[in-house]
Amino acid sequence: MSAALANSAQITNRYLRAFLRQPYYIIGTLIQPVIWLLLFGQLFKSVADIPGFTAASYITFLTPGVVVMSAMLSAGWSGTSYVVDMERGVMDRFLVTPVRRGALISGELVYQAGMVLLQSLIILGLGYLVGARFPGGWVSVILLLVATVLLGAAFASLSNALALILRKQESLIALNVSLTLPLTFLSSAFLPVNLMPEWMQTVAHFNPVNWAVEVGRQTLAESVDWQFVAVRLAGLLALTLVCAWLSIRAFRAYQRSV
């Protein structure tokens, strides 16, 4: 067990080091959500004037949505490092060592979760600077972070599974974009659900991205609706476990195909 934990930490450390060495990557990952926040904050500002919009201001409403969307978008890239490692032979080099196989997966996932957390905190901070407020308090912010990290871990696992199956950077990126963007717009990230067409409301109801956004919107409420939150967090946890299981299956399939 301790060997597995040590291996996992070593793998996390490897990704973290590579991240810190790439200034443009850092700027891209951290600045991009800032652009979303400011751009959409301006573009959809008049949404707040529509009857039926209940939040105090659009930026207050938008900030949790951008937190969730950014987590999903950046986690979707997770598999690209697997593709590079497979192409470079690094994966096979690891596999001929006695490294715990699970650590290769968990180490990367911990790194992704850390990135999602860091990115989320930056967005929340910037949102606050431009006027977003979180009347739900610390508890609601922590719930937002938990939901976001779960969703990020789910999409990172899914991306890893696709990477291990497709083994092509182009295919992975194309699939990633065609999955994450529609899911974002089929959620209440930018618009309250009650302003959506009816069929979209139905889709949003089953959209895990929307679950995370809705948990995040507890930051707007004076008090946390625990039952509402519990159902959605349970759904997100289930999704994360299913995706993690998929990535383990894909990893085994890769090992068999070598």
């Binding site: 060997a3 040590a6 291996n7 070593q10 490897r14 080091r17 590579a18 060495r21 790439q22 470079r88 032979g89 690094v90 096979d92 080099r93 690891f94 596999l95 001929v96 060592t97 006695p98 490294v99 090992q255 068999r256 070598v258």
Partner: protein, 339 residues
């Protein structure tokens, strides 16, 4: 030139148990591609053993099975007596593997690459630091310790690959085409290093290559593999001796038909073996090149076939390879036609 490394003193005790043993390995990939059709060989402890063959012959598949990456469909393999399928973790601690492509993490420094590799084997603290430093010194990478691997030359990356394969002090080192893509200088450098590993460290080395001179230069034993089968195995000298005789090669000055060349040489029947005519070049095997060449030249001259150059060569591993794989190719083609 063939190097015969002196065996390390410690290796004598374990000589009864082969360092590597493969028996009847069969590997079929999806789509019914038979990569291996029953491969058996063994490598004695402390020896350098070369698997020689063209690309796609099955060399890398053998290495993948022996290094626990891949499982055979049938057959068995063991490292120092430990089965690669049933005791993979045990085997992994006994072997070092340097893959066909450089598997250096390009975003990490030379030192970080080595450290992580050691950590994956459970090394840590002062012991890990000492081993990293020692290997950096040994492979002349000490000054490149803090350089990002992306900025290293191909030869340096390859040395880092080998250094990583040695961090846990394995007993058997697998080198899958260690010099493919290296310039001649870096290749000579790598050859010296490989010879030294066997000579000074008593390491068993299994290398795959499609360079004949590499196998000839480094290995005590060579197995030639083609179409997933070992076609011949032996010492480089033994394989060459089997060929009996010299190779003569004659380049003709003008285009001449096969038939007229064969007719001209008709009188020499018996003394020429394995006559091959390809365009303007004529190759044959003779017992003694020095005595046969004048009569070949005279016969061609008598038939008014003009010659531009003529050479005599002692048999090389090249000839062994051509002869054995040539026959295998012909057989494979025949089978294809019958089907």
């Amino acid at each position: 030139m063939t190097i015969h490394p002196a065996r390390a003193p410690g290796a004598i005790a374990t000589i009864s148990r082969p360092a590597v043993e493969a028996t009847g390995l069969v590997k079929t990939y999806p789509g019914n591609v038979q990569a291996l059709k029953g491969v058996s060989f063994s490598v004695e402890s402390g020896a350098v053993f070369a698997l020689l063959g063209p690309n796609g012959a099955g060399k890398s598949t053998i290495v993948k099975i022996l290094t626990t990456l891949s499982r055979p469909n049938s057959g068995r393999a063991s490292i120092a007596g430990h089965d690669v399928v049933r005791e993979p973790d045990r085997v992994r601690r006994l072997i070092g593997v340097v893959g066909q492509k450089s598997a250096v993490d390009l975003e990490a420094t030379t030192g970080e690459n080595l450290r992580l590799q050691g950590q994956l084997y459970g090394l840590s603290g002062g012991e890990l630091r000492r081993r990293v430093s020692r290997l950096l010194e040994r492979f002349n990478l000490a000054e490149a310790r803090k350089r990002i691997a992306r900025t290293l030359s191909g030869g340096m990356q390859r040395k880092l690959d080998v250094a990583m394969g040695l961090i846990h002090q394995p007993q058997v080192l697998f080198l899958d085409e260690p010099t493919t893509g290296l310039d001649p200088e870096a290749r000579a450098d790598m050859w010296r290093e490989i010879a030294r590993l066997a000579r000074e460290d008593g390491l068993t080395v299994l290398l795959t290559t499609h360079y004949l001179e590499e196998a000839d230069h480094l290995a005590q034993r060579v197995a030639i593999i083609d179409h997933g089968q070992i076609v011949v195995e032996g010492t480089p000298d033994g394989l060459k001796a089997e060929l009996r005789g010299d190779a003569i090669q004659v380049e003709l000055a003008g285009a001449t038909s096969d038939a007229s060349i064969r007719a001209a040489l008709g009188g020499l029947d018996g003394s020429l073996r394995e006559v091959v005519i390809e365009g303007r070049s004529l190759r044959a095997r003779v017992d003694s090149g020095a005595s046969a060449l004048p009569s070949v030249l005279a016969a061609l001259d008598a038939a008014s076939i003009r010659v531009s150059t003529a050479t005599v060569a002692r048999p090389s591993l090249d000839d062994v390879y051509l002869r054995h794989t040539g026959r295998a190719y012909a057989e494979a083609e025949n089978k294809e036609k019958i089907r």
